[in-house]
């Protein structure tokens, strides 16, 4: 039926659309024919030709109206009308480019910024992780109750007891990482390998892209010589060879059979628990050696991931783990006393550092959206007021309400469309910008897809606000009081006052929200500034760091390792442009380091868990000079102490302050529990000097008590080389590599980075948050200024004649200025007061992101309040000046 209908209809529709003039002519002719017959009829009845014509016209009662009705029947006029409305809307917007630009920019900002932030947050905090049932995955840490370190790496014997005793996990897996040299088949390269329990992939619920992966057998001694490759390594080093499974690689001189290639999105990495601080590229099963079953022989170094049994909550698991830890603490007071366990969801663990910052930005961007909505509404409201007269006239001459509504709708939609497109562009650009600006050391995410749900939400809400406040008022007033509107010359007093109240409320709210954002941003800026001024305790300028790891297969003995690093340092320090060089066990500011309990022999012995704790750093020759760390008292390590074990140590000032209570530390003996108990206690180290504090974790973390040992005291085979240069540190990299390769061509140089970069990475989160919130606050400031400008400018326009009368009656320009500014001033003061009240409540939520400044810092609040008031007053001043220049004659004539 319906297709048959279209045989008749389609040509008509097409004709109506494309032969419009002919159709119109025919309509005209048809009605004229009727009219003429009618006239003839009346003439035949004896009327004069003039009378007959009038009578006929009356009988047709309004030809034009019926024509319009006929046009409506064509069912294509909505399209024509739309086109017409669109042209009209474009013309209107072009006539007020300022208004259009502000609305479009406001919309773009509101939509774009929100979509960008939401997309990033969604990508980081909400998207499911690429593991089977990832919400059930948790990380289990040991919890050092005395150092309040909730997330401490785990000791193997504790892991084994946890695994045996818990009833809450369906699987537990351990991870420990090592740098390794990958040799054979191309350039030797240093990669990070994770040595894991054989159930690692099954606990995570991940299957390899290629190959079977690990089998339970791989967890047996002797059957563990297998390896799984990361997608990246497979592509990079093996060219994505599809037949790679079954082939072998050589890692640290050991031959391993490849049993799997992991999917591209498999990027499991808990930086906090790693020794290398870098993402692994291979995984290999590792069977805990028998010695690791005894607490005396091994410390804490593993990361533990576990899968909750169905129906078990995180809280339940935490309770169970706390109970198990308490039992272990009783059983092994020396090792496990004062140690608990922490269960944390995998997602919280991963997003940990960035989460509060992102939440803050989420809140901030919500404010920006609200301000944008208020601004758009306020602008459209002002515009609607200006058009009341036009709409009144159009209603009076017969425009149907629906027709008028459509026209207003078209205009609003056009604005929304342009604003929305600009918003989408801004969102795409903003998402990439955010990711680029986000700290790569905290967040490993190159790409986040733009979230269309969010985008449509932001578009929807701003458009809705715009429609509600721009379109509805005009529509309502057009219905209500056409006559009134026309009588009053387009200024419907009651509607105007009502609207002014709404707009004023918007402005107060906008200023209030802008103040909150500015306060938050100001606080971050102040704490960032304070952070930048913190002295790290060493000189980070012109300091190159890189890491060298010696494979045990090649450099099996301690003397060989020691000799290698001594020679390397000698060679590096002779490179032109290098002033001095040294080695250290961990790069500064990397968040890495070892810590242990220390027994000061002059103080009573206690259980290990009750002893003082200290970071232990192992260093090479010329360390203090290279790092520019001051020596407060005593002396440095001498050449002999740097060549062989002489049982000496340096401590930092914090160590002295915390543990010596006024006793002269020089000559005191320390048993540093980094070795077996007999060795530590039997051959304690003598303190030969006290050095300045260094903030090794990050600028916002105070220096820990630290013991420095010369390299022979604890022979690490992985050391970071530090070179103090006279110029750009990166300039000597190739010379340094050259020196290294002259000693051993198979030795890769890893983690090449300047200390300044490490320093800058350490406050990257603060920088990120500060910049992004700063941009938002700036946008809020501009939007609020535009908002108040709009309201005041509108009032000035409305009151032009009143001002003219005042001036005519002798008011001075000053009086006029005062009149206008007073109006704006009232709004500003109310907004600022509201903002301060709200800000004092809200900024408390960001206390964790601040450094050295209180969340209710009065100086910041006063500063941003002043700034906001100044900008807002300036925005009022522009229209106020216009009011001042009102010429009474023109103003009255205008009326």
């Amino acid at each position: 039926m319906s297709w048959q209908r279209w045989i008749y209809i389609a040509p008509l529709r097409l004709r109506s659309l494309f032969r419009r003039e002919q159709v119109e002519r025919e309509l005209d002719e048809e009605l004229r024919y009727h009219l003429e017959r009618k006239i003839e009829e009346f003439a035949a009845a004896g009327l004069s030709s003039e009378e007959a014509r009038h009578a006929a016209m009356r009988a047709m009662d309004g030809i034009e109206r019926h024509k319009e009705e006929c046009r409506d029947m064509r069912k294509v006029n909505w399209l024509e009308d739309f086109w017409q409305d669109l042209k009209f809307a474009v013309r209107m917007l072009r006539r007020t480019p300022g208004f259009a630009a502000v609305v479009v920019l406001t919309l773009a900002l509101g939509i774009g910024a929100n979509s960008a932030i939401f997309s990033v947050i969604d990508g980081i905090l909400l998207q499911p992780l690429p593991y089977g049932d990832s919400d059930r995955l948790v990380i289990v840490w040991e919890n050092n109750l005395r150092r309040s370190n909730l997330y401490n790496v785990v000791s193997p014997p504790n892991f084994l007891d946890w695994q045996a005793q818990n009833q809450v996990f369906s699987g537990m897996s351990y991870i420990s990482d090592l740098r390794g040299n990958l040799t054979g088949g191309g350039e030797p390269e240093q990669i990070v390998a994770e040595y894991v329990s054989a159930n690692f992939f099954s606990v995570l619920g991940v299957n390899p892209l290629l190959g079977p992966g690990f089998t339970p057998e791989n967890g047996e001694d002797g059957k563990d010589k297998v390896v799984a490759l990361s997608y990246g390594l497979w592509k990079r080093r093996f060219g994505g060879d599809p037949g790679i499974v079954g082939k072998t690689i050589e890692l640290n001189g050991k031959v391993l059979t490849i049993v799997g290639v992991m999917p591209q999105n498999f990027n499991f990495f808990i930086k906090q628990g790693t020794l290398s601080g870098e993402k692994p590229e291979v995984w290999s099963p590792w069977v805990l050696p028998p010695a690791y079953h005894h607490r005396k022989d091994i410390g804490r170094f593993m990361t533990v991931v576990a899968r909750l049994q169905p129906g078990i909550t995180k809280a339940r698991a935490q309770t169970e783990m706390t109970a198990i830890s308490a039992r272990l603490a009783k059983e092994y007071p020396d090792f496990d006393g004062n140690w608990g366990a922490t269960v944390i969801g995998l997602r919280e663990q991963i997003s940990g550092d960035l989460r509060p910052a992102l939440m803050l930005l989420l809140g901030a961007v919500g404010f920006v959206l609200l301000i944008a909505c208020a601004n758009v509404s306020s602008l459209l409201l002002a515009r609607a007021a200006g058009r009341e007269r036009e709409i009144g006239i159009r209603t009076a001459i017969g425009a149907s309400r629906w027709r008028l509504a459509r026209q207003l709708l078209t205009e609003s939609l056009l604005l929304a469309l342009i604003g929305g497109s600009a918003g989408i562009a801004l969102a795409v650009w903003g998402t990439n910008l955010l990711l680029a600006a986000s700290p790569s050391n905290l967040l490993d995410m190159q790409k986040v897809p733009l979230d269309w749900r969010i985008l449509s939400f932001a578009c929807g809400i701003t458009m809705f606000a715009g429609l509600l406040f721009g379109f509805l008022p005009s529509y309502m007033s057009a219905r209500g009081a056409i006559a009134e509107t026309l009588k009053e010359g387009g200024r419907s007093a009651s509607a105007g006052r009502h609207r002014r109240t709404i707009r004023s409320a918007f402005v107060v709210a906008q200023i209030g929200m802008a103040l909150v954002l500015l306060a938050g941003s100001g606080l971050l800026l102040r704490s960032f500034n304070l952070l930048l001024r913190v002295d790290p305790g060493f000189d980070a300028r012109n300091l190159l760091t890189f890491t060298v790891t010696l494979p045990s297969a090649k450099y099996g003995s301690d003397p060989a390792v020691l000799a290698f690093f001594r020679h390397l340092v000698e060679r590096v320090s002779k490179i032109p442009g290098v002033r001095s060089a040294t080695t250290e066990s961990y790069p500064p500011m990397s968040g890495l380091g070892a810590a242990t309990s220390v027994h000061i022999l002059s103080q009573p012995a206690q259980a290990a868990s009750e002893l003082p704790t200290a970071a232990v750093r192992v260093v090479g020759p010329d360390y203090l000079r290279t790092m520019s760390i001051p020596l407060y008292t005593g002396r440095e390590f001498n050449d002999r102490e740097l060549a062989e074990m002489r049982h000496v140590a340096l401590v930092n000032q914090s160590f002295v302050d915390k543990y010596f209570f006024g006793v002269n530390p020089l000559g005191q003996k320390l048993a540093v529990h980094m070795k077996s108990e007999e060795e530590s206690e039997g051959k304690p180290s003598e303190i030969i000097g006290v050095v300045g504090d260094v903030r090794m974790i990050g600028l916002d973390t105070p220096a820990e008590p630290t013991v420095y040992w010369p390299h022979p005291e604890l022979v690490y085979s992985r050391m970071t080389i530090l070179a103090r240069t006279s110029g750009d540190p990166m300039a000597i990299v190739s010379s340094a590599r050259n020196e290294l390769h002259q000693m051993d061509a198979d030795e890769p140089m890893a983690s090449i980075v300047t200390a300044e970069q490490l320093l800058s990475d350490s406050f990257s989160r603060s920088r990120f948050t500060t910049i992004v919130l700063g941009v938002f606050a700036g946008a809020a400031l501009v939007l609020a200024a535009v908002g108040i400008y709009g309201v005041v400018a509108y009032t000035v326009a409305q009151r032009t004649s009143e001002i003219g009368i005042r001036v005519a009656m002798g008011a001075q320009r000053r009086d006029v200025l005062r009149l206008i500014l007073a109006q704006g001033g009232r709004l500003i003061v109310s907004g600022v007061a509201l903002g301060i009240a709200a800000g004092l409540l809200i900024t408390r939520l960001m206390a964790g992101l601040l450094y050295g400044v209180s969340a209710t810092d009065p100086l910041t609040f006063a500063g941003v309040a002043l700034l906001l008031m100044a900008v807002a007053l300036l925005a009022c001043f522009v229209p106020a000046r216009r009011a001042m220049r009102v010429d009474p004659l023109t103003a009255l004539r205008y009326e």
């Binding site: 048959q4 209908r5 279209w6 045989i7 008749y8 209809i9 008509l12 025919e26 002719e29 048809e30 009605l31 024919y33 009727h34 017959r37 009618k38 009988a59 047709m60 009662d61 309004g62 030809i63 109206r65 019926h66 009705e69 006929c70 409506d72 029947m73 064509r74 069912k75």
Partner: protein
């Protein structure tokens, strides 16, 4: 669209379809015929006839062509289409049903 007040909604369509089913004619003739056959009971203003005709045309029930009228002037003549005939049958049936029902009710004896 203004509707003739004494015509039940939709009945104008039915009348027009029926008139055009008898013979094809132009708007003027339709208005004359409408007055004639209904004995001037049904008042359809001359103006509102045309939107109704155009509506029927756009629905595909009637089709139009320009040809010479009885006084030898060009006029737009409307004729029923196949679809129009079906529509007429449907609407006539509807009308029978409706008027029958109303008649039944009106004829009820008052107690």
């Amino acid at each position: 669209m203004s509707k003739p007040s004494d015509l039940v909604q939709g009945t104008l369509d039915l009348l027009l379809l029926k008139i055009l089913a008898l013979e094809s004619m132009n708007g003027w003739s339709v208005s004359q015929r409408l007055r004639q056959i209904s004995g001037e009971v049904l008042q359809v203003s001359d103006g509102s006839l045309y939107p109704a005709l155009h509506k029927l045309e756009q629905e595909g029930w009637i089709t139009a062509e320009w040809r010479a009228s009885e006084n030898n002037r060009r006029a737009k003549f409307y004729a029923l289409t196949r679809l129009g005939r079906k529509q007429l049958e449907k609407e006539a049936a509807n009308w029978d049903r409706l008027s029958g029902a109303i008649t039944q009710i009106i004829k009820l004896k008052e107690a």
